[in-house]
Symmetry: C2
Subunit: 221 residues, 2 copies
């Protein structure tokens, strides 16, 4: 019995680039000039961690309060920049196919509940999907907690779970959770970086996973 | 005698992520859903080519008129999203250092004159920099014409020119121009992709080029 655990932003919905710009504008408003590519490589971390990591890179200490304010402002700008993120090619079809095949799947994200609900609607999913978000666990990505909590809800052994994600943090957390990581390129992080972070396989997007799912042993039995 | 020819967007100024989002919004307004990462990998192409390439990827024919309209709308949205792009770390200092060292340099871009003027101001440069943009040549990137025209104005042999760019198109055009390509990661394209496209060396950003310029033989003699 296999299961798939999906990251959300950049994996199922097309929101990474807007997140990058929203973070950059939030930092600028906080008096910090941060290059966009440096933010891009930290997307997938929970907001607080991202803000602290950027602070360290700038050699400037960012307090927890300041990080929270940066994250909150990033959320508000994100809502203006991209109020309705689109699903990535093949995402809705892949989830539908897995249901047809009776393959359990869930979503595990560093995002918050409100973003998840919006994303589920854009994917045409009702609220009965198995979703773990940052408020459900003590430690968000790159800690493996969201994947482990999702596995528990699905009631599948870790070694039988694939984690599908676009960020090196997904691959790191998957490895720590004892799961195989499947990288997708839809978040704009390159193939080599994902493989170096421990990805077992790389696909372009969810549509390619669907087309080549036999490579993962996902065949109608 | 060595010379450096710089790409502009994503190499000297931090504008790639905003360009991606502006293109995506322009395509959406034209009735085309295009994943952001697919646009990201085409940034650096001249607008018309980018629009035609996306059309081919979607299996949808895009006319030259339609491509022009998409590009024009992308420019308008870009102006709203990021009216004043910031220089990338070390960009202004590197150009200043090259002047001090009497190393000739120029800028060669797929962008248009108005974007260039705004960028020169943000870099603190007067208008006396050597700049070649798309309207100065018959064929924009990935054709090598902008680099060859820049070389001619600098009056340096092609084999003595380094092209500094963030896109695989810069590396391709550099190789075709008989120049060595230097990749920077500031446009968000990964190290391996730039090397596979023919980069001779990779640096994080202009600040790292400045710090390691001895690797390029750029030493005060």
């Amino acid at each position: 019995m296999l299961a798939l655990i999906f990251d959300l932003d950049g994996t199922l919905i097309d929101s990474v680039y807007a997140h990058v710009l929203a973070w950059q504008k939030s930092f600028t408003a906080g008096g910090m000039l941060v290059p966009a590519w440096s933010i891009h490589h930290k997307i997938g971390l929970v907001g607080l961690e991202l803000a602290l990591a950027i602070g360290r890179e700038l050699g400037r200490s960012v307090s927890a309060d300041e990080a929270e304010e940066l994250d909150k402002r990033h959320g508000a700008i994100m809502n203006e920049l991209l109020p309705y993120p689109e699903p990535l090619p093949g995402a809705a079809a892949l989830l539908h196919r897995l249901r047809e095949m009776h393959v359990p799947w869930g979503i595990a994200t560093s995002g918050d509940r409100s973003g998840v609900e919006k994303a589920l609607r854009s994917l045409g999913l009702s609220n009965n999907a198995t979703v773990v978000c940052k408020s459900d666990v003590d430690h968000a990505k790159p800690e493996p907690d969201v994947f482990l909590a999702c596995r528990e809800r699905l009631n599948i052994l870790a070694r039988d779970c694939f984690v599908v994600g676009d960020a090196v943090w997904d691959m790191l957390a998957a490895r720590r959770a004892g799961m195989l990581g499947i990288g997708v390129l839809t978040g704009g992080i390159g193939r080599t970086e994902l493989i170096e972070a421990g990805a077992y396989r790389i696909y372009g997007d969810p549509a390619e996973i669907d087309a080549k799912r036999y490579e993962l042993g996902l065949v109608i039995g």
